[in-house]
C-alpha cells in the first residue's frame, strides 16, 4: 500500500519533482544561483516548446482525420515508411535493402503524415512576388509563429509547472495575442496583392472587434479569482475537491466561457469565422502570396494559436490543472484536448459567416452580453462578500 502510494506520488508530482531534482543537482555542482535559475529556465522553455511542437504536429493530423470522418471518409492514412525512405535515401539505395518493399504496407494509420507534410513544406518552391515588400513578406510568418509561442510562457500545465508566474499573466496573454494581428497585416501589406490586403484588413477588423468581448469575458475569471496571475486563477478553481471550475459558477462563468470560446475561434480565424481567408471571395486572404515554408509557418502559427487558446480557456474557465484523482498535467491536457476537439467539431459543422453578420455579432451581441456579465459578476461577488460578513 505504501509502495503504491509512493509510485502514485511519483507520477502525480513527476514534473515539479524532476525540476527540483535537476536544480539540486546543478547546485550540487557548485553552480551559482543565477546560473541554476537560467539553466532551469532554458530547460523548461525548451521542453515546453518541444512538447508543443510535437502536440501541434499530431493535432494537424487529428484535425484532418476527424474532419475526414465527419465527411464519411478516412482522412490521411497512406503516408508509409517506404515513401519517406525513398525521399531520404533514394529509390536505388532503398531497393538494395532486403525486404524494404514491404515497408510500403507499414502505414501506422497515417501517423507519419505530419512528417510527410513537413517534407512537402520544406521542398516546395519559395516564391516572393516581385513587387513584394521583402522584409515584411519574410517577417510576417515568423512573427505570427513566435507570437503564438509567447503566451505559453505563463500558462500553468500543472501545480508548479509554469514557465514564469507573472502577476499580470492575463494582461500579458491578451497583449501577446494582439501581436498576431500586426503580423497578419504585415503579410497582407507586404505581398502587394489586392486580395491579400483585403483579407488582412478583414482579418484585422475581425480580430480587433472580437478582442473586446474576449478581454471582457476574461475579466470575469479575473474578478472571480481576484488576481491576474494565471497560476492564482487556476488555484482559485481548486475548491470542492478540484471541481470548483469557473465554468460552474452559474450563470456568469458559463456565459463568460462561451463568450471567450466564440471570440477565441474568431481570433484564430478558424471556421466559422474564417472569412479573412474565404477561398471563394478573396482567394486565400492574407497568405495568398505565400508558399512553401513560409506558408507552412502560417499553418504552424495557426495551430500553435489554437493550442494556446485552448490552454488559456482551460486555465481561465475549466479549472486549469484542477480535477479529482488524475495527476494535474493529465487533467490539464485532457481539458485542453477537449477544447481542441470542440474547435475541430465546430469547423466540421458550421458554414462561414457573412462580414456584416460577423461584425454585428461581435458589437451588438457579444459586447453587451459581456458587459452585463461583468456587471452581474460584480454584483454577485459584492452580495456574497456581504453575506459572509
Amino acid at each position: 500500500m505504501d509502495f503504491i502510494r509512493q509510485v502514485w506520488d511519483f507520477i502525480y508530482n513527476f514534473f515539479p519533482d524532476a525540476s527540483a531534482w535537476l536544480a539540486s543537482v546543478l547546485r550540487g555542482w557548485g553552480w551559482p544561483g543565477w546560473g541554476v535559475d537560467l539553466a532551469m529556465m532554458i530547460v523548461s522553455a525548451v521542453l515546453i516548446l518541444a512538447f508543443i511542437m510535437l502536440v501541434m504536429l499530431f493535432i494537424t493530423l487529428m484535425e484532418r482525420k476527424i474532419i475526414g470522418r465527419v465527411q464519411d471518409r478516412y482522412g490521411p492514412n497512406r503516408a508509409d515508411i517506404q515513401s519517406l525512405l525513398v525521399i531520404a535515401l533514394g529509390r536505388q539505395r532503398l531497393q538494395k535493402i532486403p525486404g524494404s518493399r514491404f515497408l510500403r504496407h507499414l502505414r501506422l494509420w497515417g501517423l507519419l503524415q505530419p512528417l510527410a507534410d513537413a517534407i512537402k513544406f520544406l521542398t516546395k518552391e519559395d516564391i516572393t512576388p516581385r513587387a513584394a515588400d521583402r522584409p515584411m513578406h519574410l517577417l510576417a510568418p515568423i512573427v505570427v509563429t513566435f507570437a503564438a509561442l509567447l503566451s505559453w510562457a505563463v500558462i500553468p500545465f500543472g501545480k508548479g509547472m509554469v514557465g514564469t508566474d507573472l502577476n499580470i499573466g492575463v494582461l500579458y496573454i491578451v497583449s501577446v495575442s494582439s501581436i498576431a494581428i500586426i503580423s497578419l497585416f504585415m503579410a497582407g501589406w507586404g505581398a502587394d496583392n489586392k486580395y491579400a490586403l483585403l483579407g488582412a484588413l478583414r482579418s484585422v477588423a475581425q480580430m480587433v472587434s472580437y478582442e473586446v468581448p474576449m478581454v471582457l469575458s476574461i475579466l470575469v475569471a479575473v474578478m472571480l479569482a481576484g488576481s491576474m496571475s494565471m497560476v492564482k486563477i487556476a488555484e482559485a478553481q481548486g475548491a470542492l475537491g478540484g471541481m470548483g471550475w469557473f465554468i460552474f459558477y452559474l450563470p456568469v462563468g458559463l456565459v463568460a466561457f462561451l463568450i471567450y470560446f466564440i471570440c477565441a475561434v474568431a481570433e484564430l480565424n478558424r471556421a466559422p469565422f474564417d472569412l479573412p481567408e474565404g477561398e471563394s471571395e478573396i482567394v486565400a486572404g492574407y497568405h495568398i502570396e505565400y508558399s512553401g515554408l513560409k506558408w507552412g509557418l502560417f499553418y504552424l502559427g495557426e495551430y500553435f494559436n489554437a493550442l494556446a487558446v485552448s490552454a488559456i480557456a482551460t486555465t481561465l474557465f475549466l479549472g486549469g490543472w484542477n480535477g479529482p484523482l488524475l495527476p494535474p498535467y493529465v487533467w490539464f491536457w485532457a481539458k485542453a484536448g477537449f477544447i481542441i476537439l470542440a474547435l475541430m467539431w465546430l469547423r466540421a459543422t458550421l458554414p462561414r459567416f457573412r462580414v456584416d453578420q460577423l461584425m454585428g455579432f461581435a458589437w451588438k451581441f457579444l459586447l453587451p452580453l459581456a458587459l452585463v456579465n461583468i456587471f452581474v459578476t460584480g454584483v454577485g461577488i459584492a452580495l456574497l462578500q456581504n453575506l459572509v460578513k
Binding site: 470522418r69 465527419v70 471518409r73 478516412y74 467539431w345 459543422t349
Partner: protein
Amino acid sequence: MYGLGIVKGLLVTLKHYLQTYRFGRDPFRGKAIFTVQYPEERLPLPPRFRGRPMWLRNQQTGEPNCTGCSVCVRACPHGCITLVTHMGEGKKRVVDSYTIDLGNCIYCGLCADSCAFNALAMSHEFELAYYSRENLVWDGDMLLGPWRKKGKDSD
C-alpha cells in the same frame, strides 16, 4: 431559441463521425465510409467496361483470330492502329505487324465493334502508366496476353 440550429448541426456531424466506426458497414445504407482504398480495394468493373483493346485467340487452336482485314484500322478515329500484311498462300493475308499506340487510343471501342472475326475486344485492363511513351505502343503479342505487361519499368 438562438443557438439551437448550431446544436442540431453539431449533432449531425457527430452522428456522421460515429457512423464511420461501425466496422465500416451499415447494414441498411451500405458503407458508412465511402472511400475505396484503391490499390487494395477495388470497385467491381461493369461487364461492358472498356479498358485497353485486346486480341482474342481461337479457342481451339490458340492462334489469334485476326485476319488482317484492316477494318479496325479504318474504324479507329485517331489512327492509332497500324497494320502491315502481305498475301500468303491461297487468299489468306498474313499479319506482319499489328500495333496499337495506347498513348493515342481513346478507348472508344469502335475497333472492337467493327471487327467481323471476333479478333478484337475491349479488355478490363486500365492501369497503363509507364515511364516512357514507347512502352505504350503495343504489338499483337502483347495485346494477346490479357494481363501481360511490357518491360521492367512497369511499376
